[in-house]
Structure formats: structure tokens, C-alpha cells
């Protein structure tokens, strides 16, 4: 079908990039396990954000409705259904826990009283069990929501819309709790002494923002062809732009508040986390990150015309999307002594390209499995009317 021409091109690029990247990562694993573990966690996190974020957006849409979500429902579902695949790609992290998490080291535990007190939570068995719990929660939510909405297409039953809402209301709470604990387990515990209560919220907002940037780019391409031509209108692009704008501000606000509180408190048990990001080139890195992830998107998304022109919006969103990899680096890399100075490791590229290629290939395949235009009775008549008007 004509509508899938773009996806074919995407797939033909994504698959070889993914295979080469994964092969290079596998080679890296045999060469330097520690370096591999850090690069893999960063690459995986970047793409996992899209799957996790899509699930979150899907539930926000079911709870609030709105045409912005109606037109993105199928891409959200396709991305959320990659949950099992992405969780499988997390397995290398489970095999690299000794490289990543200091609290698994016997000699660290023996000499560190604070870590000893945290052992009831921070222990490998608990880590595995909690990983399993998160996996079940997110996978069940992703498949329950997407299967139900596909069934609704077939039977056209408006009762299904209510059911989607009934799942989403408790779903979003459970999802958020799981994401908060996952962010503590996987990222905050990289520094077992450090703590920040807003960390989980920053993690979810990062995921939501990255997902919306991706979807804005995707929507621009989908809107060029049937069946989305004339269904994704200027108003929806304006909405995508506004979401990106709002989430950019929210992300900056939370990050700055975390920094300001720790800076004001000025206690070593918290400040050392920022001190690691203030030397070895990381202070310049932080400055570039603030510019690329706050000032540039803030002033670009501020202007209405940049949001209403889908081509301009997609170009901005693509640049910011790529730049957001900086945050993943900033969040993870400075923890490790061998990454104390800003440096680019070839395995960073291998991991992010390998996992990304695979993700995009699977996503493009998944997108074809259900009609791109959801049959949601609340919007489908409006969409038909707009198409006729065009």
C-alpha cells in the first residue's frame, strides 16, 4: 500500500544499522565488559524512553481524549507493544550488574556502612524480582490497551472506549509507581549513596518528551499520505508543539529544582553527584545540554508559526530528539571513573545505533499490523469530515 512507502524506506535503513550496531556491541562485550555495560545502558535507555513514554501517553490520551491522541493512538500502541522486546534487550544489563552497580561488590559492602543499611532494598535478588514486576505491569498494560482498541475497530462498540478509560485510570498510577522505582533501581542506584525524590518524575518526563518529539517527526511523514492525510491537521501539529514546549519547561523546572535544593543544602552526601558533573569537561557538557535541551527548544517552540508548520516542527523536533541523547550521557556516564572526563566511546554509538535500528525496524513492522487510523467513534466522523473538506 502507498501509505507504507515511507516505512519501507525506514525499515531498509533501520535493519542493517541495527544489525551492524548490535554486532559491534557484541564484539565490544568481549573486549571490555565494563565499557560495554555503560554504553549499552545509555543506548538502551534512550530507546526504552520511547516505549515507556508511548505507554504513558496512551493512558493520558484515554483519560483526557483529544484529537492529538486520536491521530497518534496507533503509533503509541505500536511503540508500547515493543515492551517485551525492550525488556529482553535489558538482559545484558542484568549480566553486567557487577560492572554497573557498586553495591554488588563485596568489598564495597564490607567497608561502607551506608550501603549496608540499604542492602534490604539494594540486592541482586530484589533487583531481579522488581525488574520482573515492572515487566509484567508494563507489558500487561501495553497489550491490554492495544488489543482492546484493535477489537473496538472491529466491533465499533463505544463501550470499549469506556473500558480503555477504566484500565487507564488505575493503570497510570501503577505505571508511574513502577517507573519511579525502576528509575531508582537502574539509574539512581548507580550512585548508591545519592538520593533525590524527584528523580522518578524527571525520568518519566524525559520519556514523555522524547516520545512526543519522535511522534511529531513521524506525524509529519504520516500526514503526507493516506490514510492520515487531512486527518492530522495544522491544529494537531500545534498541539504536538505545545506538548513538546510544556514538557521542555517541566523537564527543566524539575532538573533545576533538584539542583537548587542540593546546591542550597550544600551537603556532601548530595553535592558529590553534581561535583562529578562539574569537572573533566562535564561542566561544559552541562552548559551545552542546557542550551540544546532548554534554551533552543524553549525559544523555538515558543513561536506559533514553528508549531503550525509541520515541516518546521518536524525539523526542530528531530534536532532536539537527537540532542536528548546528551541527557542520557549526562545521567549515567560521569558516575564511572573511566568516564570521569567527557569522552565519546565507540561502543556508545554502537549501542544506541544497534538498539535504535532494531527498535525502528520492529516499530515499522508493528505499525503495519493495525489500521493507522483508529476507529475511535468519538473522532472518526470528524476526521472523515475534514478529509472530505480537503
Amino acid at each position: 500500500m502507498e501509505s507504507h512507502v515511507d516505512l519501507k524506506k525506514l525499515k531498509s535503513i533501520a535493519l542493517p544499522v541495527g544489525v551492524i550496531g548490535l554486532a559491534a556491541s557484541a564484539y565490544g562485550y568481549t573486549q571490555n565488559h565494563d565499557a560495554f555495560a555503560v554504553s549499552w545502558l545509555m543506548g538502551w535507555t534512550f530507546w526504552f524512553f520511547l516505549t515507556l513514554g508511548s505507554l504513558g501517553w496512551l493512558m493520558i490520551y484515554h483519560l483526557t481524549s483529544g484529537r492529538w491522541g486520536f491521530v497518534l493512538q496507533r503509533p503509541f500502541e505500536a511503540a508500547a507493544r515493543l515492551m517485551p522486546a525492550m525488556l529482553l534487550l535489558f538482559v545484558p544489563v542484568l549480566f553486567s550488574m557487577h560492572s554497573l552497580y557498586e553495591w554488588t561488590h563485596e568489598h564495597v559492602i564490607a567497608h561502607d556502612e551506608l550501603v549496608q543499611h540499604k542492602l534490604p532494598y539494594l540486592n541482586p535478588t530484589g533487583f531481579y524480582i522488581r525488574f520482573g514486576v515492572y515487566a509484567v505491569i508494563w507489558t500487561v498494560l501495553a497489550f491490554a490497551l492495544s488489543n482492546l482498541s484493535r477489537r473496538a475497530d472491529a466491533n465499533g462498540n463505544p463501550e470499549t472506549v469506556r473500558k480503555l478509560r477504566v484500565i487507564s485510570a488505575p493503570g497510570i498510577l501503577i505505571y508511574s509507581l513502577a517507573a519511579t522505582f525502576a528509575s531508582f533501581d537502574w539509574y539512581m542506584s548507580l550512585e548508591p549513596h545519592w538520593f533525590s525524590s524527584i528523580y522518578g518524575a524527571i525520568f518519566m518526563v524525559s520519556g514523555g518528551l522524547l516520545t512526543m518529539l519522535f511522534m511529531a517527526v513521524l506525524a509529519h511523514h504520516l500526514a503526507q499520505r493516506e490514510p492520515m492525510k487531512g486527518v492530522i491537521t495544522t491544529q494537531q501539529f500545534h498541539d504536538f508543539g505545545n506538548w513538546c514546549f510544556a514538557f521542555t519547561i517541566l523537564w527543566t523546572y524539575m532538573n533545576f529544582v533538584q539542583f537548587l535544593i542540593i546546591w542550597s543544602g550544600n551537603l556532601y552526601e548530595e553535592t558529590f553527584w553534581y561535583m562529578k558533573r562539574a569537572k573533566g569537561g562535564w561542566i561544559e557538557f552541562s552548559a551545552v545540554m542546557s542550551i540544546m535541551l532548554f534554551f533552543v527548544p524553549f525559544f523555538l517552540f515558543l513561536f506559533r508559526n514553528n508549531k503550525r508548520n509541520s515541516k518546521v516542527l518536524a525539523s526542530i523536533a528531530l534536532v532536539i530528539f537527537v540532542a536528548r541523547y546528551l541527557e542520557v550521557q549526562w545521567m549515567i556516564a560521569p558516575t564511572f571513573a573511566f568516564r570521569a572526563d567527557v569522552a565519546f566511546h565507540w561502543m556508545d554509538l554502537a549501542a544506541v545505533a544497534g538498539i535504535g535500528g532494531l527498535w525502528l525496524w520492529l516499530f515499522a513492522n508493528g505499525l503495519k499490523k493495525a489500521p493507522l487510523l483508529s476507529g475511535d467513534a468519538r473522532f472518526v466522523e470528524f476526521a472523515k469530515g475534514d478529509k472530505a473538506g480537503h
Binding site: F259, L260, W263, L302, R304
Partner: protein, 187 residues
């Protein structure tokens, strides 16, 4: 009897029964080349702004300037006070401790933006305005209940009492009145 002079007249006001005719008339009037137009309706009419050809408000630009001025004020005020006016070391921090300035900068940005938005809106709308010649239209009070009005002002270059009246009547107006600038002027 004194003849009304051209400049003692405010404009031509037409009344319509419903939003559809008002919208159609607004399109017709714009297509005829009128620019000094305005419409009055008790409810928001979707598409009316576009039909009248009203340009986007300059308010957004004013608010942006207000916000930037607020940010600059917040930054300058705190820097001046804590670095030059009253240099005082607080918990061993440098005098120029910009992270602690940010909340005030943020608040002043919001405050100045809000002021710019409210007072900018007043300015652009010419408020406060206790008197407007359009009030002289018979039955104009109904613009806040069930009347839909379209006004073409006499300062429009295309304004011609006879032709303008004919156009509005053709557009489906139930009543067309030429309105004076002052109520005591002869009609």
C-alpha cells in the same frame, strides 16, 4: 434641517438574525474590499475573525517583551543588590550566586508578562472606553443577548452610504442603520 456631513457619521451598522448570515455577510464585506469593519455577537462565532480578515493580535509580542524585561529586571536587581549594593557572604557562597537568583527571575518574568498581557490588551483595545459610537445603533443592547451586528466604519476608504447600505441589505441584514458619532447629531 441640517444635513449630516460625511465625517459626523461613525459608520453603517447591520443587524442579522443568526450566526450563519453574519458569517456570510462578513465574508461578503471582506471580499468587497472593506477593511475598517467589526462584528458584535453575544456568543463566540467560529471563523468570524478570519471572515473579517482581522490580523493576528500583536499582544503576543508585547507579552514576550514584558517577560524578557521581567527576567532582565530580576537578574539585574539581584546582581546589583548582592554583589554591589550590599555585598554579604551567605553560608560561604560567592557573592554572585546565580542559582539562587533563578526563582526570583522566574517570578518577575511571570509578573511582567501578566502585566504586559493585561495592560497591553487594554491598550490595543483602547480601553477603558465608556462611550463608543456603535452604542447609538437602535437595539444594540441585544448584542449581549440575541442580536448579531456587523459594522463598517465611515473611515473605510471604500465607504459610501448608498453602496454600503445596499451591500449589507443584500447580505441578509434585517435592519441597516447609519450611525452618528454623537447621539445628539441629526440622523
Amino acid at each position: 434641517m441640517k444635513q449630516p456631513t460625511a465625517n459626523s457619521m461613525y459608520g453603517m451598522v447591520a443587524e442579522f438574525h443568526d450566526t450563519e448570515t453574519l458569517l456570510k455577510a462578513a465574508n461578503l464585506v471582506r471580499e468587497a474590499g472593506y477593511t475598517a469593519t467589526d462584528a458584535f455577537s453575544p456568543i463566540p462565532v467560529h471563523g468570524l475573525v478570519e471572515a473579517l480578515g482581522i490580523r493576528r493580535s500583536r499582544l503576543a509580542g508585547i507579552v514576550l517583551c514584558g517577560g524578557l524585561a521581567g527576567a532582565a529586571t530580576g537578574f539585574a536587581l539581584q546582581t546589583y543588590l548582592s554583589v554591589f549594593q550590599y555585598p554579604h557572604v551567605v553560608s560561604g557562597r560567592p557573592l554572585f550566586s546565580w542559582p539562587s537568583f533563578v526563582p526570583i527571575i522566574f517570578e518577575l518574568t511571570i509578573l511582567f508578562s501578566a502585566f504586559a498581557a493585561v495592560f497591553g490588551m487594554f491598550g490595543l483595545n483602547g480601553l477603558p472606553k465608556p462611550y463608543d459610537p456603535v452604542f447609538n445603533t437602535p437595539g444594540f443592547n441585544r448584542a449581549s443577548t440575541d442580536g448579531f451586528f456587523l459594522c463598517i466604519q465611515s473611515n473605510d476608504p471604500k465607504y459610501d452610504p448608498a453602496a454600503t447600505r445596499a451591500l449589507l441589505e443584500k447580505a441578509g441584514a434585517v435592519q441597516v442603520t447609519e450611525v452618528a458619532k454623537h447621539p445628539d447629531d441629526p440622523e
